[in-house]
Every structure is written in structure tokens, then in C-alpha cells.
């Protein structure tokens, strides 16, 4: 009888970026769990809320969007979505919101636990659904809500008037958080956090720009995973260190002809929209099996916050991708496509995200025309697995590949 061969997984290298980033992502939860156990007040915070504020104040926070993504990726999305639907939430609203509201009621999920909050921090620069989601969290849990209003920006630049409007709110939010937690804001700590945030962001932007090399030294799906650290921990020194390690690894990969993309990189695409977390393996394999590397995404740009002072930080948050107009959003993507020699655009029409997906038809048409690349879209959802069809996805990706191949003058063209 043949001896059973067990594959022994190599222990992760503690000096690798993957290990460091994984540790930071995990610590984001354990730190808050421990703080809660110590009796500290902890918050839930939306992803485009200025992380520098709670970080400077030393307030432990966790991120419902990241939790919802983790729950969805581990198979719990449908269960929690249905729980929320049973409470009267429409299946048309964001699946992250449904999962989070269900979790707030249940208080536990085996896929990803995090402690219930003592207050919630929300910023309107993502979408209107986020506002109602946090209002409901506040009401259901009977806890304070600190809401920052950063209006949708119809212009290319951020005006001084907008900075002044937002600054008053940032300062008020800091005061509120000081009162809630008894912790104090210090300029020295802010300078340190700002320095870390800018260091992390610079390394992230430079690492993601390594996709300019052909072949790319990384599989773009890596970015979707590493993004969690950019969202939650960019103000921490260890995040800056991990991102600088990532950059070094990508540069070394380029120099030695290696890549985290397994197999030959035959085609290079931009993936538009957030990952389809419940179907991550299917969506990734559908590309990888055809030699398609997703070399860039707007997330490569979205969480790179570079600024020099408090006002600069405000300007950065006024220009997050969800809060900017179609033309500026288009130009950012066109720049990424051109810088990274993108040959096709695959658009995830995310049923959860009415704002992002709503103008994507027109934006992707304009990107396709400007970059002279084929544009293909598929229906899906960031966290509700019911809104995705594997067969439909596969046909669309194959169609995109066949167009890209024909444009290269390939087989049968």
C-alpha cells in the first residue's frame, strides 16, 4: 500500500510581508477584545473615517466593513444577511450593513467575532447607506454616534471652504471622543501618527505601482487582502514597517523575475470594484487559470493618504474614491490603466453598492474609450453570495480573454 503523502505547509517566515501584514490584521481584533476586557471604551468605525483621530487618542476601534468581509469570505454572509432581512431590512441594501446589523443583534459570529461597541464613528464620505447603518447601530445598541459629514465633491480640487466646514467637525469629534473616553489629544502623538500614516501610504503606493513591470511582481488579488491593514492600521509604525517590507519584496521579485502570480501572466487587467468575498476563490481562479493577472485596482490608490498637516489630512479625506465626481474618478483609473499597461477592464457590478456600481456603466465606458481596452462587467456582491452566478462570471471572463487574445493577434484571430 502506498504511503500516504501529507503535504507539510512551510511555516511562514516571520520577516515576510505576508506574515507581518497577517499579524497586524489579526491584532486589529485582539487589541480591541483585550481593551474591552480591561474595561476600556471601544468604538466601531467606518473605513473612510479618519483613522488618525482614534489612533492619536489611543482609542481602540474595529471596522465593521472588514468584519463583514471576513464573515462573507468564511461563508457566513448569507446567514447574517437573512438574519437582518428577517428583522425587516431589505435585501436591496448593502450586504455589509445587513451583516453588521445582524451581528450587532446577535453579538457573535463564529467566522469573525469582535466586541460590541460603546460608540460608533461614521463618516459620510462613503455612501448614504453607511449613514443609516450607523444611525441604526447607535439606536439599536443605545450608544453615541459621532458623525462626520464630508460632502460628495463635484470639483477636481478641495476648496478652502470645504476644508473649513470639515475641520470644525473633526475638532468637534475629537472633543466628543475625549469626553467619551477620558483620553486626550496631543499634537506630539498626532505628528507621530501622521508620520506613520504617510510612511505606510508611501510604501503602499510604491508597492502597488510595481505592477508597471511586465510581468507584474505580484498577483493583484494580494492587494485586496493587504488592503485590510491600510484601512485599519495605517497610522501604526508596524504597518509602515510591513508595507515597506512588501515594497522590498515586490522590488526583489521584479529583479529576480519572480511573482506572487502563479503561472504565466498572459493578460493584464484592472479589476473594478471590491472583491466578491464569498466567491473569492472562484473569481480569482477564473482569472488565474486563463493567465489573467489583475494588476491594478482603485484600492491601489484609495488608501494612500499623503499629507503634511491637519488641513492636509482633511483634504485627503475629502478626496476618497467614494466622495469624488465621475470625471476625477475616471481619470484616476485611466492613470492606473496606462501606468500598468492594462489590456482589459473587468467590472464587478456590486449589488451592495448602489453608488459605486450606479455610475460604473458610464465610467467604465469612458475608461474603455480613453484607454482603448475592452470592458466587461459581471453581477456580484461584496458579501451576499446569492447575487453571483459562477457560470455567468466564467463566460464573461472567457469572453474578455478572447477579445484580448484577438487583439494580440492570437490563436484563431
Amino acid at each position: 500500500m502506498a504511503e500516504e503523502v501529507k503535504q507539510v505547509r512551510k511555516p511562514p517566515d516571520p520577516n515576510s510581508a505576508k506574515y507581518k501584514l497577517g499579524q497586524i490584521a489579526a491584532k486589529a481584533y485582539t487589541d480591541v477584545i483585550e481593551a474591552k476586557a480591561r474595561g476600556e471604551k471601544i468604538g466601531w468605525v467606518s473605513s473612510n473615517f479618519p483613522v488618525e483621530i482614534p489612533e492619536t487618542l489611543g482609542i481602540p476601534v474595529c471596522y465593521p466593513e472588514n468584519q463583514a468581509a471576513a464573515i462573507a469570505a468564511r461563508g457566513g454572509g448569507e446567514r447574517l444577511c437573512q438574519e437582518a432581512e428577517g428583522d425587516g431590512y431589505s435585501n436591496d441594501i448593502c450586504a455589509y450593513a445587513r451583516i453588521s446589523l445582524a451581528y450587532a443583534k446577535l453579538g457573535s459570529a463564529p467566522e469573525q467575532d469582535m466586541p460590541l461597541p460603546d460608540f460608533v464613528l461614521c463618516c459620510s464620505n462613503i455612501c448614504d447607506c453607511m449613514i443609516k447603518w450607523y444611525e441604526n447601530l447607535s439606536r439599536e445598541l443605545n450608544i453615541p454616534l459621532i458623525m462626520l459629514d464630508i460632502p460628495f465633491n463635484p470639483d477636481y480640487e478641495v476648496s478652502d471652504a470645504e476644508v473649513a466646514y470639515v475641520k470644525g467637525q473633526f475638532l468637534a469629534a475629537i472633543r466628543q471622543m475625549e469626553e467619551l473616553t477620558g483620553k486626550k489629544w496631543t499634537e506630539e502623538k498626532f505628528q507621530e501618527v501622521m508620520k506613520n500614516s504617510c510612511r505606510t501610504s508611501r510604501a503602499w503606493l510604491e508597492a502597488t505601482s510595481c505592477a508597471k513591470y511586465t510581468p507584474s511582481p505580484f498577483n493583484g488579488f494580494d492587494l485586496l487582502n493587504h488592503m485590510a491593514v491600510m484601512v485599519t492600521a495605517r497610522g501604526k509604525a508596524e504597518a509602515a514597517d510591513a508595507m515597506e517590507t512588501l515594497l522590498k519584496e515586490y522590488q526583489e521579485n521584479h529583479e529576480t523575475g519572480k511573482s506572487t502570480f502563479r503561472g504565466e501572466e498572459k493578460y493584464r487587467i484592472m479589476f473594478e470594484g471590491i472583491a466578491c468575498w464569498p466567491w473569492l476563490r472562484v473569481t480569482s481562479t477564473g482569472l488565474k487559470s486563463r493567465g489573467i493577472n489583475m494588476v491594478t485596482t482603485i484600492y491601489a490608490d484609495a488608501f494612500g493618504f499623503i499629507y503634511d498637516d491637519f488641513d492636509g489630512m482633511i483634504r485627503a479625506y475629502c478626496k476618497v474614491p467614494n466622495a469624488i465626481n465621475l470625471e476625477l474618478a475616471r481619470d484616476k483609473r485611466v492613470k492606473l490603466c496606462k501606468a500598468n499597461s492594462v489590456e482589459g477592464l473587468l467590472v464587478h457590478v456590486n449589488r451592495s453598492c448602489k453608488l459605486w456600481s450606479g455610475f460604473m456603466n458610464e465610467m467604465s465606458r469612458q475608461i474603455g474609450a480613453e484607454c482603448d481596452i475592452p470592458v466587461v462587467s459581471f453581477d456580484g456582491d461584496q458579501a451576499d453570495p446569492r447575487n453571483f452566478s459562477e457560470a455567468q462570471y466564467d463566460t464573461r471572463v472567457q469572453g474578455l480573454m478572447e477579445i484580448m487574445e484577438a487583439r494580440k493577434g492570437g490563436e484563431g484571430a
Binding site: V376, T395, I403, G412
Partner: protein, 262 residues
């Protein structure tokens, strides 16, 4: 050289045998799709009809939703490229192909050389597809094939929603309950499909000549409604349902030629 294309769809299996990339030697259409014995039956029938042995077929290509599950295939291609190739063969110079199949609707743009340059497909909902027509025919207790003739006799087409098959089903029942003529309801159903697919076509960009392929192309009520919606002539051909299989056979021939050259 004999090549073969098979299109294994959601409700039917189609097979085309091609000689030297330019003569259709035999065709077969079986009303059984993915997950049935339909593909094997279509394959067997086409070989019998042409009187050739399996060994005489130089290359076999599969397309359609069942394309990856047909073991006899030498390769596979998407139904998008297959319909583009098939329609370009049937109507040289075609720039827009509207393919409405059992479970999806596609609008395919072709460049001047007959290559697919882009496409838009329906979302997850079955509204605007062949399945939609089947459900409606079921409510009316008629065969799908009868819908076109009924639509042609309509006097005042009844409005039917294009957003959802289930909503449309209840609308049709309400229309019948309110005494609407069955022909008028059928014409409304055809318009509903055309409205849905017409929106897709406008997104893809309509360039003439425009043709229809897929099983629904046989429904002249939908074709005429599409002409009204798009404001351009929409042509079709008797082999419209076989266009995908034909495209796969052409692809088999082209790639076999390519292999011989390399």
C-alpha cells in the same frame, strides 16, 4: 478537413459539422441541454447525417454553458466568440449580434474584420431571455413556437413589465383576468423582451448591420419588436439557433489551420 462545433446550452444542444471551414455538411438540434444526454445525441445525429466516422473529424470545439463538460472536445470557447464567428459567416459584415438564448441575452459588437470587440450581457435575472418566453407560453398554454404568429395578430399590445419574470407573470395573469386578448398579451410579452434587450444593445452601441441569433431569433414577434425599439433593421437567418455551434466549428477549423502552420 472536417471540423465540428457543439453548443451545449441551458435548454438545447446544437451541433454543426463543417467541411474545409466553408461548407456546412450537417447540423443537429436536440431539445435537451446541459446535464442531459442532449450533447451526445446531437453529436451522434450530426455524424450520422453526414455519414462520417468520429475519426474523420479533425477537431471538435465546444461552446455554451456546458462547454467544459463535454469530454470529446479538443477545446472550448465562449458562446460570445462563437456567435460572433457564426453570425459573421452567415452575414458577412455584421457589426452587431443580438443573441437571445435560453438563459441569457447578449449583445456582441464586431469589428470590420468580424472579430468580437466587446459585449454586454444580461444581469442575473432571466427577464428578456428564452426562459422568460417559455414561462409566458406556459401561462398561456401555448407552445413557444406559436408566440410569433399570435403576436402578429395583435391589435393593441398589452403592457408587460420588463424588469422581472415573476412580476411579468403576475401581470400577464392580471391582463388575462381583465379580458385582454391573448394575442395582445403575447405581443406585449414580445415587446417586453425587446425593451430589455434593446437597453442592453444601446449600452453596447448599435452598429448596422444588426442580426439576431439564438433560439429566440425564430420568434418574429420579438425580432420585429426589437426593430421598433432600436429603429434599425434586425435580420436573422434559418440557422440562427445554430450560430453558436457553427462558430465553434469555424473556430475549430481556424485553430486547426493555425496549428498546421505552426
Amino acid at each position: 478537413m472536417i471540423t465540428l462545433g457543439i453548443d451545449i446550452g441551458s435548454t438545447t444542444s446544437k451541433c454543426v459539422l463543417l467541411e474545409d471551414g466553408n461548407r456546412i455538411a450537417a447540423t443537429a438540434l436536440v431539445s435537451a441541454g446541459i446535464g442531459t444526454g442532449g450533447a451526445e445525441e446531437a453529436y451522434r445525429r450530426v455524424l450520422t447525417a453526414a455519414g462520417v466516422d468520429e475519426g474523420a473529424v479533425a477537431r471538435k470545439m465546444a461552446t455554451g454553458y456546458g462547454r467544459k463538460r463535454w469530454p470529446a472536445a479538443d477545446g472550448e470557447l465562449s458562446e460570445l466568440t462563437a456567435h460572433a464567428l457564426g453570425c459573421h459567416y452567415l452575414l458577412p459584415g455584421v457589426r452587431t449580434v443580438i443573441d437571445i438564448g435560453g438563459q441569457d441575452a447578449k449583445v456582441i459588437s464586431l469589428d470590420g474584420q468580424g472579430r468580437m470587440s466587446g459585449f454586454v450581457m444580461n444581469d442575473k435575472c432571466a427577464a428578456g431571455t428564452g426562459r422568460f418566453l417559455e414561462v409566458m407560453a406556459g401561462i398561456l398554454k401555448v407552445e413557444v413556437g406559436e408566440l410569433a404568429a399570435m403576436a402578429a395578430r395583435a391589435r393593441a399590445p398589452a403592457p408587460v413589465s420588463s424588469t422581472c419574470t415573476v412580476f411579468a407573470e403576475s401581470e400577464v395573469i392580471s391582463q388575462l383576468a381583465n379580458g385582454a386578448a391573448r394575442e395582445d398579451v403575447v405581443a406585449g410579452i414580445c415587446r417586453s423582451v425587446a425593451a430589455r434587450v434593446g437597453a442592453l444593445a444601446r449600452r453596447a452601441g448599435v452598429r448596422e448591420p444588426v442580426c439576431m441569433s439564438g433560439g429566440v431569433a425564430a420568434n418574429d414577434g420579438v425580432r420585429r419588436a426589437l426593430e421598433e425599439v432600436l429603429g434599425v433593421p434586425v435580420t436573422t437567418f434559418p440557422q440562427a439557433q445554430l450560430a453558436g455551434a457553427l462558430g465553434a466549428a469555424l473556430w475549430a477549423w481556424q485553430t486547426a489551420e493555425h496549428k498546421e502552420m505552426t
